[in-house]
Amino acid sequence: MSTHELKTGPLEYRTQEGQMSILGFWIFLGAEVVLFSTLFATYAVLFGRTADAPVPADLFEPGITLVMTFLLLTSSFTCGLAIHQMRAGSLKGLITWLVITLGLGLGFLGFEIYEFIHYAHEGATLQSSSFWSAFFVLAGTHGVHVTLGIGWAVLLIIQLVKRGLTPVTSRKVFVISLYWHFLDVIWIFIFTSVYLIGMVV
């Protein structure tokens, strides 16, 4: 209820509103975990049901997925560096690392789109069988999350340029960093349980 602002501690935690937003976002991520778990479960149930379409082992390639993984993991790291800069009070450092993070994210997306188009050419589309439906929706949902994250981050960078580091902007940046790390974790699961398993089975 109070509007009192703390004078110490990370900027994003100084107001009660900041604290509540961050807690709310953690809870939201909890819901996102359930959402992705459901998609993973669906994928697992439909595994192997390829009907007349190609099987995943024929299409999945280690090279491209490793590159995607590398890009996203690195972006998570640079996102951490961005927050580090923010804590150190450096607006310039923050923005620089955020832009690098976005660049890596875009690279990831580019590869994912290429990959999807490639599969479609080989005869594996959303419509070809329940397995491929599950694959495209699981990976696609992650991809859409990344896309939204990039759009959101662009808006935040504009706000940072306009307003500098305030409790509000730093709270927003902190929240999106949580989001970005979360997407990274989800990707690790997709990489291992979809691609790695799909390649060997």
Binding site: T3, Q19, G30, A31, V34, L35, T42, L46, Q127, S130
Partner: protein
């Protein structure tokens, strides 16, 4: 698409519906224009972020939906009492039971409870508003437009007709072409977003905004039930989101999740649906438990017996509710082991539920029961719900369920828990908190008439259904065997009794608005919890000041110590959020996108989605920080409200 495919044509019932929709809408528009109330409507209601007003809008919408679902119910009962009249043909009957079930659970029970939570929870914990008032408004409008979208299917495009459970493959594109099923999917999806957001909002509010000194185990029990419910919402609703999305993608974009072609798996829908669906039934019963606990403690003039056991049993029920979903399809042939495990887990839920029943009974022991209308609804709940509960346990015994499943025995069970639980609680809660919301009580004498009609009607309607179910009558049939006729006629009589009860209830709202004595103090029932510490009408900022809370029944000890929520020494400016039109606009655009998706107009849907994203971007750039209510103004408001 031809216009005559767009509008549902050729059905007298539906023409009647269209005409009445047009008439009611024009009447509302006319009245608003004539009374010059458009500006007022926009400023005071459509753009509000005040939890109390949003709550009232939820409850009004829920009452409207109760009416719609109730009319559906009466039409079904007429058909079953006089099947040879052919009042409804098979297709109509299927559409009506589908919309009835969906409307009642998604657009009546949940919003009604969420409305009560909206109004009461911040007041019970001494908070200024929700943690995220803007999000709260977004939630409301997403529910509202979801409900409108679902209801419009009646006249545009055709209603869904695959049951509220929407089982595949029946509900898939191959077996149910056309927009009907899409209305179900998009309407629920839209409302579901709001529900999830509300869950998060309530959880943060309760965890972070409690009055100084109020520990978790000091919270009023209704607030506890809300917290537990929000936990279930957060973990169950994403499952529904995914299930609906997958079926939507199946129907509109041709994927193969639940199809008969492409090695799809129709059974998976039933699993996903009930992994959400069973927790969902607890989402609508736990708040009801909370409401009854408050009311029983107040009118027994006694502390709630076994507060901690009450809380822990709710937590246990919430946990178990995620582990029993298979009991909705024991007959799918998953094998003896699976059925045994889920039988036992299902029956286990009865243990914490039983504990709660005994705690309520013990609360009555050595009490002084005041037979107010709210109390009568709450007392009637106990024996009625027990019947629903024990038959639930019988359904949980898989081997027996093979005979009960899909029969009227099941129908009787869930109406005994949903009506005697949720609906009674909504009525009880509305009657109980009505003076807080509107500044006057509902008339007690008329309220009791409505209670008795509804209660007796309810038992007359649903008790016979246990027997007709045991006689082999399946659910969802529009035509019945002659030997089931007598019990069905009795049921229909009971249903109309409930209808009379509802009409009296609504009349009572009008009557009390005209004639009830206005409340002068805030404490209408000599209450125990903080919501009664505020003056009536509640100032928009809720609490001017709050004493340090120690212990349960905070207001009771405040009264003892002569404390109020207006301590002039400690006044400080209060920070409030500003009203905004963004939530309603954002959700209207999203509703437009959903409507376009229903008819598979992809271009328009994309435009709508982009519009929604733009609205979110605008919100992100909106640094409106609200405003402060200054000390002088607080003093003025409080003094006049308290007659000082």
């Amino acid at each position: 698409m031809q216009l005559d495919e767009f509008f549902v044509t050729g059905e007298p019932l539906i023409y009647g519906g269209m005409v009445s929709i047009v008439l009611v809408t024009s009447a509302i528009i006319f009245l608003l224009t004539y009374l010059k109330r458009w500006g007022w409507l926009w400023r005071e209601w459509l753009t509000t972020v005040d939890h109390k007003k949003i709550g009232i809008m939820y409850i009004l919408s829920a009452l409207a939906m109760l009416f719609r679902g109730g009319v559906d119910a009466l039409m079904m009962r007429v058909q079953l009492a006089f099947p040879n009249m052919n009042f409804l043909n098979s297709q109509h009957y299927n559409e009506i039971f589908t919309t009835h079930g969906t409307v009642m659970i998604i657009f009546m029970a949940m919003p009604f409870l969420v409305g009560l939570m909206n109004i009461i929870v911040p007041l019970q914990i001494g908070a200024r508003d929700f943690a995220f008032p803007f999000v709260n408004a977004v939630s409301f409008w997403s529910f509202f437009f979801g409900a409108m979208l679902f209801n419009i299917s009646f006249v545009i495009g055709g209603s869904p007709d695959a049951g509220w459970t929407s089982y595949t493959p029946l509900a898939g594109a191959a077996l149910s072409p056309g927009p009907g099923q899409n209305f179900y999917l998009m309407g629920l999806q839209l409302a579901g977003i709001g529900t999830l957001a509300t869950g998060i909002n309530l959880m943060v509010t309760i965890l972070k905004m409690r009055a100084p000194g109020m520990k978790m185990f000091d919270m009023p029990i209704f607030t506890w039930s809300t917290l537990v419910t929000s936990f279930i919402i957060i973990f169950a609703f994403p499952i529904l989101t995914v299930a609906l999305a997958l079926l939507t993608i199946d129907r509109i974009f041709g994927s193969q999740f639940f199809t008969l072609t492409g090695e799809g798996m129709p059974m998976m829908w039933a699993n996903l649906f009930w992994m959400w669906g069973h927790p969902e039934v607890y989402i609508v019963i736990l708040p009801a438990f909370g409401i009854f606990s408050e009311i029983i403690a107040t009118f027994a003039r006694k502390q709630l017996f076994g507060y901690k056991a009450m809380v822990w049993s709710m937590i246990l029920i919430a946990g178990l509710s995620f582990l029993v979903w298979v009991h909705h399809f024991f007959t799918m042939g998953a094998g003896a082991l699976v059925n045994s495990v889920f039988s036992v887990s299902t029956m286990l839920i009865a243990v914490p539920t039983g504990v709660k029943i005994f705690n309520w009974l013990a609360t009555l022991y050595k009490s002084r029961i005041q037979m107010t209308t709210a109390m009568m609804w709450s007392l009637a709940f106990i024996p009625s719900f027990v019947i629903g509960g024990v038959t639930g346990v019988m359904l949980g015994m898989a081997a027996a369920d093979y005979q009960f499943h899909n029969s009227y025995f099941l129908i009787a069970h869930f109406h005994y828990v949903l009506i005697a639980g949720t609906v009674f609680a909504c009525f009880a809660g509305l009657v109980y908190w009505y003076p807080k919301m509107f500044g006057h009580k509902l008339n007690e004498r008329i309220g009791k008439h409505s209670f008795w009609w509804f209660l007796i009607g309810f038992h007359v309607c649903f008790f016979p259904q246990y027997f007709v179910g045991l006689d082999g009558m399946p659910r969802r049939v529009f035509a019945i065997l002659p030997e089931w006729m007598p019990l069905n006629v009795i049921s229909t009589v009971g249903a109309f009794g409930m209808g009379v009860g509802f009409v009296i209830f609504v009349y009572n709202i009008y009557y009390s608005y005209r004639y009830s004595k206005r409340e002068e103090k805030g404490d209408a029932w000599d209450g125990r919890t903080l919501e009664w510490a505020t003056p009536t009408p509640v100032p928009f900022y809720n609490f001017a000041t709050l004493p340090e809370i120690n212990g349960r029944d905070a207001f009771l000890s405040m009264k003892k110590n002569n404390e109020t929520t207006f301590d002039e020494e400690r006044l400080e400016p209060i920070h409030m959020p500003s009203n905004t039109g963004q939530p309603i606009i954002m959700m209207a655009i999203l509703a437009f996108a959903s409507f376009a998706l229903v008819f598979e107009w992809i271009g328009l849907a994309v435009i709508g989605l982009i519009g929604t994203l733009i609205m979110m971007g605008i919100r992100s750039f909106d640094y409106d920080d609200g405003y402060h209510v200054e000390v002088d103004e607080i003093k003025k408001i409080e003094r006049s409200a308290r007659g000082l």
